[in-house]
């Protein structure tokens, strides 16, 4: 209540203030730069008020002010200046803001503000303006291509889908490499709600996606162990520190923004345009592929005969067949905030609404997010109380990915000559599930799209309370409490596919009994933090800052879920709508962490800084003997331009930094003790699960106990240089780091002959070495000419290597399928893709079978690794007067990924890659046949059997040629183009609008990929946004480009 009351007070105050000043008169003058050139568009503000104006083209201004007031002159790239309004003519010269970098204040771990130059580690800070320039609804997406050493991967551009952030490569084999998000000093949940099921995957986003980007004041990315040691295990993959906007004293600020954009499909697999429906070179009307004869344009019947009639169409290629299926999607993001405050209190209230409807021609892919945030702070005597509360409500529907009856799988098995949009009326007698043209495990995509579905909803509350007491001038004590609680519900259903008795598809594998599943999940995190901070000036040159802290963190979760394997009444989805009983399961988890820590910085002459951190954690998830873990770090920073001011003409600011740090990492709950589990046998497709027929079964779990489990330990050192040359003409920020995570904890796969299939164990070491650099060129500073141009280039390379692996293990399987797997091997990059290859004779010739098709070797081979060789972002900002143009490229080079889109379009003969030799018979070059005699002796004979048209489909889908389904995932994307216009103050005149801007925004406008990728946007993944996601995609939904506009106004 108190906070709200303050808000009203602020309102009143502002009104009163405006009424009191009466003795104003006009003050005028000219503003120029150092060289005397007049500066247009300089903001002139009366300090402590919202009254202001701008200079005109000649740098002149006029404003009404009283003699006691102070004018503030500010301009981008220049140092702000304050001048008393005592005289009525004021001419001002603004100076270049050459010490920009030096003065930057950043928030460090623990929420303590520091001058950036005191940091001995790499930290990138993104401010609100940079973050929201392109009006991205998701904070992680907004970072894409902007921060060196940080790779943002979006599972897809489906509405609401998650975006993952990987900082300096993969450091954990366990599969969680996401940074810890800390909002105003409190860690929040960043879990992902997704399924990577091969038979119907979905993605409903990550916890970080719940943050309203407009609420963010600054966002700092802490990359190394030294920077993150104070957050303990959870920060081992980096920290993203978010400071939210607060109300500012003396101002009532209302801001509103709207961003509306339209999305369309970015990339579809390239189809061949010469051959149509059929198989083995013949025209079969039931085939789900394009292995038929060459197009001849002749009008022929197609589809099944229904009621003695049949459809006809020309036998010719359908251009942009897939594109026609999709429609234009829409995104709208609206946000509103009101903030203000008086001397010691401030308050801010914000609301945002994001609505997305994807490109599927239905509402089956849509997402909505509402966020409501309230924050306030008040100081009474020496105690400051700050609080924030956020309520987030998200919900939506996703279209399943994967094999089986999914929209994409249905679509990709439509021959190149069939117009997809014909199927739109899926109740039409020719196109319903009974008579759909093919019986081969796929059906009308419109049926799948409209009748299968999902519904997701989440309510989340997170917030914090901070009480800070200043004990004396040099020390204070802080208590912070954080809470993050969310409840999610998810329902997923598949409609029954029941072909009418006697219809063409009756008894085919397309028929499905349907299914329904629903789950409810509650997650809760509580965090307590005590801090004692002191800041002592030991002598004129020596200063000491130190913080002592105690942290308690508890995370609990519970879920219940049920499934039922059939659905009866069409169009209705429920557990009850089945001949079977639903099966339910439940799960509860709890974990705790206690930590005590200290961080101490000693600075000498404000140019040499040394910081040490030390922390001890106690983890509930580790065995009692190993649960206490001590670690820490040391970092140093030297602002050498302060030591040698003589070089400032060339190097106007320079700082060297070096650090070493360690972090301990624990594991998931319940990994140590043996367990007994329900009798449940996986059959490959389906399970045999107790209880049934009155019998129950429990078994010895397949995970062996591990009472000796130790924590993982990340050890990292880093060197860096920040420097600005020639009055900030060039700014550079480069780092080199070398980190190792030893005692990697993973589910160590055990040979089943041991009686177990896994053990949670310490198995190896991952090393990450990398270089990251950020260079900014301020080609033309936006001043006299009104034209400005700067370019930012960030570049990073990271080499993740599994340096050591338990010698008992040959390799580690990280995911994928049995044919093509994601694996890790000692001494090799993380992670590798391994798959089938053709068998070869001793001379290296490919062994083929009786049809001339390569035979699969019993030995799999590594195709290559999944890592980018380098990633790069190039951004340009151009401005002319009130116009600005920003455009950025995201460049990623190297790495492999599996693509089921490649696999399936090669299987169906739709892919442009399936027309080698114009589909005429060809002999696999240098092939041999193999004969094994009864005595086991083997002879090889040169092969003369060509792969004839009847077997070309077998050739293109041969297991031996699995390498063809693994593509180079390099790309260059025109990530963002933003054209902005800021309305001049003059135009706004006396309207209540303080500032108004308008932008046109394009995103992912162009995509360039290497020749081997004729299929997809290589950013897509259906295996989540972490290590497993490196495997690739399993019939993902297509990604999009978007074009839109935004309006931002401040009142």
């Amino acid at each position: 209540m108190k906070l709200k009351f303050n808000g009203i007070l602020v309102l009143l105050l502002v009104l009163v203030t405006q009424l009191t000043f009466a003795q104003e008169r006009a003050v005028s003058g000219t503003v120029s730069d150092n060289s005397g050139m007049p500066l247009p568009g300089v903001s002139v503000l009366i300090k402590g008020t919202r009254t202001g104006t701008q200079t005109d083209f000649d740098g002149k201004f006029t404003i009404k002010a009283s003699t006691s007031q102070i004018l503030v002159f500010s301009y981008i790239g220049m140092k702000s200046q304050e001048v008393s309004a005592a005289t009525s003519t004021i001419n001002v010269k603004l100076k270049d803001d050459s010490v920009e970098l030096e003065g930057v204040v950043v928030t460090t771990a623990l929420g303590i503000k520091r001058e950036k130059k005191s940091l001995g580690y790499s930290s990138t800070t993104i401010n609100s303006e940079q973050l929201n320039r392109a009006s991205q609804g998701n904070v992680a997406d907004a970072l894409k291509g902007k921060v060196a050493g940080v790779t943002i991967s979006s599972a897809s551009t489906d509405p609401g889908a998650s975006s993952g952030v990987i900082i300096r490569g993969f450091s954990s084999l366990s599969g969680n490499n996401q940074p810890l998000y800390v909002v105003d000093g409190i860690p929040i949940n960043n879990g992902s709600t997704y399924s990577d099921s091969l038979n119907g995957g979905y993605d409903f986003g990550r916890g970080s996606g719940d943050i309203n980007p407009e609420d963010i004041e600054t966002m700092s990315i802490l990359k190394g162990a030294a920077a993150t040691a104070l957050y303990g295990s959870r920060a081992a993959s980096g920290v993203i520190l978010i400071t939210t906007k607060k109300g500012k004293a003396g101002k009532l600020d209302i801001s509103f923004s709207n961003a509306t954009s339209f999305t369309e499909i970015l990339r579809t697999p390239k189809y061949q345009s010469e051959f149509g429906q059929g198989w083995n070179g013949q025209h079969f009307l039931g085939e789900n592929g394009s292995w038929g004869p060459k197009f001849d344009g002749v009008v022929r019947p197609w589809g099944n005969v229904v009621d003695n009639s049949q459809l006809i169409k020309p036998y010719s290629f359908q251009k942009d067949q897939l594109e026609h299926f999709f429609e234009t999607g829409t995104n709208a993001l609206n946000s509103l905030s009101i903030s203000g405050g008086n001397g010691d209190s401030s308050v801010r209230l914000s609301y945002s609404n994001s609505q997305q409807d994807g490109i599927m021609p239905s509402n089956a892919d849509q997402f909505e997010r509402n966020t409501l945030g309230l924050s306030g702070t008040s100081k009474v005597n020496n105690i400051t109380i700050t609080g924030s509360l956020n309520y987030v409500n998200t919900g939506g529907s996703a279209v399943a990915t994967g094999q089986g009856l999914t929209v994409m799988n249905d679509l990709m098995q439509i021959p190149t000559d069939i117009p997809i949009t014909e199927f739109k009326d899926y109740n039409n007698k020719f196109h319903n599930v009974s008579n759909y043209y093919t019986p081969y495990g796929v059906t009308n995509p419109y049926f799948t799209l409209n009748e299968n579905g999902s519904k997701y909803a989440k309510d989340r509350i997170y917030g914090s309370i901070e009480v800070k007491a200043d004990i004396n001038k040099w020390s204070n004590i802080i208590y912070r409490f954080g809470l993050d609680q969310s409840s999610e519900s998810l329902a997923v259903w598949e409609e029954r596919v029941d072909a009418a008795p006697g219809s063409p598809n009756d008894g085919s594998s397309t028929e499905q009994p349907g299914s329904y599943g629903e789950s409810k999940t509650i997650a809760k995190q509580i965090n307590h933090e005590f801090l004692y901070n002191l800041d002592l000036k030991l002598s004129t040159d020596l200063e000491l800052q130190s913080s002592f802290g105690f942290n308690m963190n508890q995370r609990t979760g519970s879920s219940i879920s049920g499934t039922v394997g059939s659905q009866d009444i069409a169009g209705f989805h429920s557990f009850d709508n089945s001949t079977e009983n639903a099966k339910a399961t439940s799960n509860r988890t709890e974990r705790k962490l206690y930590g005590i820590y200290n961080s101490t910085t000693v600075s000498y002459k404000n140019q040499l800084f040394l910081t040490t951190t030390l922390r001890n954690d106690w983890y509930s998830t580790l065995p009692e003997e190993n649960r206490s873990v001590l670690y820490g770090g040391i970092n140093a920073s030297w602002a050498f331009t302060d030591t040698f001011p003589g070089i400032k003409d060339v190097v106007n600011f320079g700082k060297l930094r070096a650090n070493y740090g360690e972090t301990g990492v624990d594991t998931d709950p319940y990994q140590i003790l043996p367990v007994y589990v329900k009798g449940d046998i996986a059959l490959g497709f389906g399970n045999l699960t107790y209880p049934f027929n009155g019998i129950n079964g429990y078994e010895v779990g397949n995970r062996a106990a591990n009472p000796d489990l130790k924590p993982e330990r990340r050890k990292e050192y880093e060197f860096g240089l920040e420097a600005s040359f020639f009055k900030n003409f060039i700014n550079i920020d480069v780092s080199y780091y070398d980190s190792k995570v030893v005692n990697q904890i993973i589910a160590l796969p055990l040979a089943a002959s041991t009686g177990y299939t896994s053990q949670t164990a310490n198995v190896g070491t991952i090393g990450n070495k990398g270089f990251e650099g950020l260079v900014t060129f301020n080609w033309i500073k936006p001043k006299s000419t009104g034209f400005g141009w700067s370019t930012t280039v960030n570049y990073s390379t990271n080499n993740s290597v599994l340096e050591k692996l338990d010698p008992r293990l040959g390799q580690l399987n990280l995911g994928g399928t049995s044919a093509i797997a994601l694996i890790a091997k000692e001494g090799s990059p993380l992670a590798l893709i391994e798959g089938n290859v053709p068998e070869r004779d001793p001379n290296g010739n490919i062994v083929v079978d009786a049809n001339g098709i390569p035979v699969t070797s019993t030995q799999k081979e590594v195709y290559g690794d999944t890592q980018y060789d380098y990633t790069m972002g190039v951004g340009n900002t151009l401005s002319y007067k009130n116009f600005s143009l920003d455009f950025s490229f995201d460049i990623r080079q190297g790495g492999l990924m599996f693509s089921r889109t490649a696999d399936i379009t090669r299987f169906t003969g739709n892919s442009i890659t399936t027309t080698y030799n114009n589909r005429q018979p060809f002999v696999v070059p240098g092939s041999v046949t193999k004969a094994t005699a009864a005595d086991g002796s083997v002879t090889y004979t040169p092969n003369s059997t060509p792969v004839d048209i009847e077997h070309q489909d077998d050739y293109y889908s041969a297991a031996a040629l699995g390498r063809e389904t693994v593509i180079d995932k390099s790309f260059v994307k025109l990530r963002e183009v933003v054209i902005g216009y800021e309305f001049p103050k003059k135009l706004l005149g006396t309207s209540p609008i303080q500032s108004l801007s308008f932008s046109v925004i394009g995103r992912n406008l162009f995509l360039w990929t290497p020749k081997s990728n004729q299929y997809i946007d290589p950013e897509t993944s259906t295996f989540g946004t972490d290590l497993r996601g490196q495997y690739g995609e399993f019939s993902s939904n297509p990604s999009t480009r978007s074009i839109g506009f935004s309006v931002k106004a401040n009142f």
Binding site: R591, Y594, G679, I695
Partner: protein, 493 residues
């Protein structure tokens, strides 16, 4: 102010002190029980074993014994039907049998020993022996003496198959002896899905299993006529099928072959398996009514029972519904040992080691019990085995020819019931013979090389690759070079 800092210091210290222990002991999984009973583990073990022998292996055996072949216009098992198996083919069965069935049986044995329950120990030992025998029969030499040791030995070396066989007999005899000297009822009740915990049945099972093990050694130097004769003299073999017959009709409760291959969800939808002419023609040419029990008629046109020559599936105008398909439903039991099989084992033993005396009677009974298993009137069997019938036992033939009659009938009696055993026995005895396509006589029981075989001549696979998972994880296992290598007992030329 001083007070506040004092209070906070105290809270601080208390926090740190209490943090270390007690409060952090929250790492016992609340979602799983702290302990279970041997009865619960036994039910799980039985389900693990039958899920594999009646699922993965029933599929493998179905193709290799030439009961089924791959349907046209589908291709899930193309590679299997071509003998072009990948090394990961055996992964699931191997994992489930070792870490599921055998590990649970080990638990039952441990608990039974503690409780002095000789009945429970015997049942666990028998199922364990059964499982190891299957593992040897399809994978060759497998980890045995070093197996199931948990993390104390994560690279168990394989034990030669003949040594495993010898030891299985020792273990069975020891468990039997312990039970006989101090019989304790298992008390498993319905948790023993196979025999309801009835020890009488399990003792009979022990003898039948031993007979099966001994006969597998028939072509090897380990053949032991005296032991077989002793078993025959004791004549205490199974009188009730050892079958897992409590499947339900709902999802996750159904016959594993049905769930995976015939159900449309989560299974593959009944589009891959169709009748192979090898068995279909055998039944048909001999007017054997079992045709209608083993296969379902097609739903399209005449003839109702259409099959394809093994591996001849590259015909795109048809789908599975045009052919006869395996008649397996959700509740079809999975058999570990059937009475008919026991009859044929005895018949072979009598032929080999008792001068064929009584062999015909067991042979006839075998066919009769096969009809019973398929729920057909036994009069049909009598017609076939009676004088002048197609299957009339010819007495006095040389041993191998006499055995041939038994094995061909056993092959015809195991379809859908124990496909993998039919394949293993065919590998051991070379009956029904594999003959070049075109020269086969389906009526007498002839197999052909798959029409899409990638192997030469009449070679068909005689062993599986070691599962890729095991090779990847167990450094003591070296992948074999070929699936034409031989299991240790495969010594007949």
């Amino acid at each position: 102010m001083k007070n506040i800092s004092k209070i906070l210091t105290i809270i601080f210290s208390i926090g740190i002190l209490t943090s270390c222990d007690g409060d952090l002991d929250v790492n016992t999984d609340p979602n799983t029980p702290g302990n279970i009973t041997p009865a619960l583990a036994l039910a799980s073990a039985e389900a693990s074993i039958i899920s594999m022998t009646g699922g993965e292996f029933a599929n493998l055996g179905g193709f290799y014994a030439q009961y089924y072949t791959q349907a046209p216009s589908a291709g899930q098992y193309d590679l299997l039907d071509e003998y072009n198996l990948s090394t990961s083919f055996g992964d699931r069965a191997w994992n489930e049998l070792y870490s599921g069935g055998l590990n649970d049986l080990k638990y039952v044995q441990t608990e039974a020993s503690k409780d002095g329950n000789t009945g429970q120990f015997l049942i666990a030992t028998l199922l364990q022996s059964y499982t190891f025998q299957v593992l040897v029969d399809v994978f060759g030499d497998v980890p045995y003496t070093e197996a199931l040791g948990g993390v104390s030995n994560i690279n168990p070396r394989p034990t030669p198959g003949d040594e495993i066989y010898k030891d299985l007999l020792v273990k069975i005899d020891a468990a039997l002896a312990a039970y006989n000297s101090k019989p304790v009822a298992s008390g498993f009740g319905t948790q023993d899905v196979i025999y309801g915990g009835d020890m009488t049945h399990w003792v009979k099972f022990a003898n039948t299993l031993k007979l099966k093990i001994y006969l597998r050694m028939a072509y090897t130097p380990l053949a032991n006529p005296a032991a077989v004769q002793a078993l025959l003299a004791q004549n205490n073999f199974i009188t009730a099928d050892a079958a897992f017959a409590k499947f339900g009709t709902e999802l996750s409760q159904r016959n594993p072959f049905y769930e995976v291959n015939l159900s449309s969800s989560p299974g593959l939808g009944d589009i891959n398996h169709i009748a192979s002419n090898t068995l279909l023609q055998f039944y048909q040419l001999n007017n054997d009514p079992r045709r209608d029990a083993v296969y379902r008629p097609n739903t399209a046109t005449i003839p109702a029972y259409l099959g394809l020559d093994q591996g001849n599936g590259e015909n795109l105008t048809n789908t599975a519904i045009s052919y006869a398909r395996p008649n397996i439903v959700a509740q079809t039991p999975v058999y570990l040992l059937s009475v008919a099989e026991s009859n044929f084992l005895k018949a072979e033993a009598l032929i080999r080691y008792s001068g064929q005396v009584g062999a015909k009677a067991e042979y006839d009974l075998g066919v009769e019990n096969s009809f019973r298993a398929y729920k057909l009137p036994v009069t049909g069997a009598a017609v076939l085995t009676g004088a002048g019938g197609a299957y009339e036992f010819a007495p006095g033939l040389p041993t191998e020819q006499a055995v041939r009659q038994v094995i061909v009938q056993k092959w015809a009696a195991l379809a859908n019931l124990n496909n993998i055993e039919a394949y293993i026995e065919a590998t051991r005895t070379k009956f029904p013979e594999v003959v070049p396509f075109g020269t086969q006589d389906y009526s007498i029981g002839n197999r052909i090389p798959s029409r899409t075989s990638i192997l030469t001549g009449t070679t068909i696979p005689s062993i599986l690759f070691y599962p890729q998972n095991e090779v990847d994880r167990n450094t003591s296992i070296k992948q074999r070079t070929s699936i034409t290598q031989k299991v240790w007992w495969d010594q007949k030329n």
